[in-house]
Symmetry: D2
Subunit: 153 residues, 4 copies
Amino acid sequence: MSNKFIVSDPNYKQKVINSFNRQDVMHTINASIVDVQPGYVEITFPYSKSLTQQHDFIHAGIVSTVVDSACGYSAFSLMPEEAGILTIEFKVNLLSPAKGEWFQAIGKVKKPGRTITVSEGELYAHQGDTRKLVATMVGTLMTINDPSGQIKG
Amino acid sequence: MSNKFIVSDPNYKQKVINSFNRQDVMHTINASIVDVQPGYVEITFPYSKSLTQQHDFIHAGIVSTVVDSACGYSAFSLMPEEAGILTIEFKVNLLSPAKGEWFQAIGKVKKPGRTITVSEGELYAHQGDTRKLVATMVGTLMTINDPSGQIKG
Amino acid sequence: MSNKFIVSDPNYKQKVINSFNRQDVMHTINASIVDVQPGYVEITFPYSKSLTQQHDFIHAGIVSTVVDSACGYSAFSLMPEEAGILTIEFKVNLLSPAKGEWFQAIGKVKKPGRTITVSEGELYAHQGDTRKLVATMVGTLMTINDPSGQIKG
Amino acid sequence: MSNKFIVSDPNYKQKVINSFNRQDVMHTINASIVDVQPGYVEITFPYSKSLTQQHDFIHAGIVSTVVDSACGYSAFSLMPEEAGILTIEFKVNLLSPAKGEWFQAIGKVKKPGRTITVSEGELYAHQGDTRKLVATMVGTLMTINDPSGQIKG
């Protein structure tokens, strides 16, 4: 994809990966961050029975967990070094059952801003060679300037 | 709360509990369904480091997972015996960090319908004797009539 | 309703009414602001064929227009004197057709904040003595500090 | 754009235009439907002081009105001849002030379905040769089968 966004932190990739690695829930889900570009993040995770709802599909909330992280980190990649990030709200539309061998979450910045960034996300289910769109997200993220560094990242 | 909704399945409590127990992710989260009334469901879960984001708060997606189940089961409690339920979409607003000893998700039907039901949810964080509102949800649920019984519940 | 919110601008009522009166679209809709309390605003408007969709009900977007103003002004009532207000996003659920003689929009602050305020809104249709819930809204509002005063109000 | 959706009503263009013309609010807004393709609809309208909020920008609810019609008709274009359409819910993100000479709303089907269709919308402000993204929408639409024909269209 084209690098259409301006990066203010040259160390943005490592910053995103470090923060992702501190999200213990990503380990619980067995998720991996596989691509970080300016305003773009991709996270994958395998199917696990431990994450399912009553029909053995991945629970919509787990879908949201991974797509929210992808959206949030897509926004975080464009933020200044000292900034923290907060999800204000998101909306998820569930288009197909989350069934497959593994899942791919994509987060993309739609509109960056000094305080408010809007990102869009998608989750795809992969089965063999086929890929199916499972869910879409719109998320609103806020840049937090915290000189204490407590919420940095 | 007042029993303002009409129940079409007299066995609604057991039906909801059975479906909840089939959601493996609820076991992963260590969640318990603690109240089921017509159009009302309450689910609790303890803090666990394994469910956290980068600041050691419960991840917004895990918050969504539990509130979505509470909203969905509040709708499901009013559906006919043979019906299945599908979350079409939800929106979450994150009002405070999800930090606390344990968490309480409440789902309530706002408007029941033959095909579409709208429910509202809240997540509260409990710490000692204090309770703080962490998140609100609005969710749209669909009644599925599946004579094959495959998606029942 | 109980006055549970702290008002920082003692002139909040007049401030809200003045801003409402500058919304030309409210005149086009023939809307009146009928109650302003801390964190609470009520706006009414009569049915007009000029605001309808293809089945002669009020268009969902016009419903949203009035409920968004009610939500926005409920948040604005709590903001400091010099602040401006911006709607970041909202979500509307349409529960019943917007048919009736007149309509009542209610906006209430759910969670006030220094930068971000979340409000909830409802639209009721009135016909004779009956009142029916037509739509619900969740909106996210931002406080804008603009020393130039250009976006004040 | 590529014609990737299957049309079930060969008369879909005229059907959409007829329904649009019955939306009196579109006349009030002075809106024109300028393109109808399978799963795609474009509506434009000029700036008018009568549609503004307190800073003389187009009110977010009027933005929503036009984008909701664009989203709804993009879904309607794919529905069978006898179907009616209902907006269940939508979410709008407001990215920039709605200021300009004229505005262009685009609605596109993201995922068609027998009962539920999800569409995405955008509103652009035009000023001279420049075009700026003002708002995005995600909307959930329902196909209504009404043999009485009362809500057809």
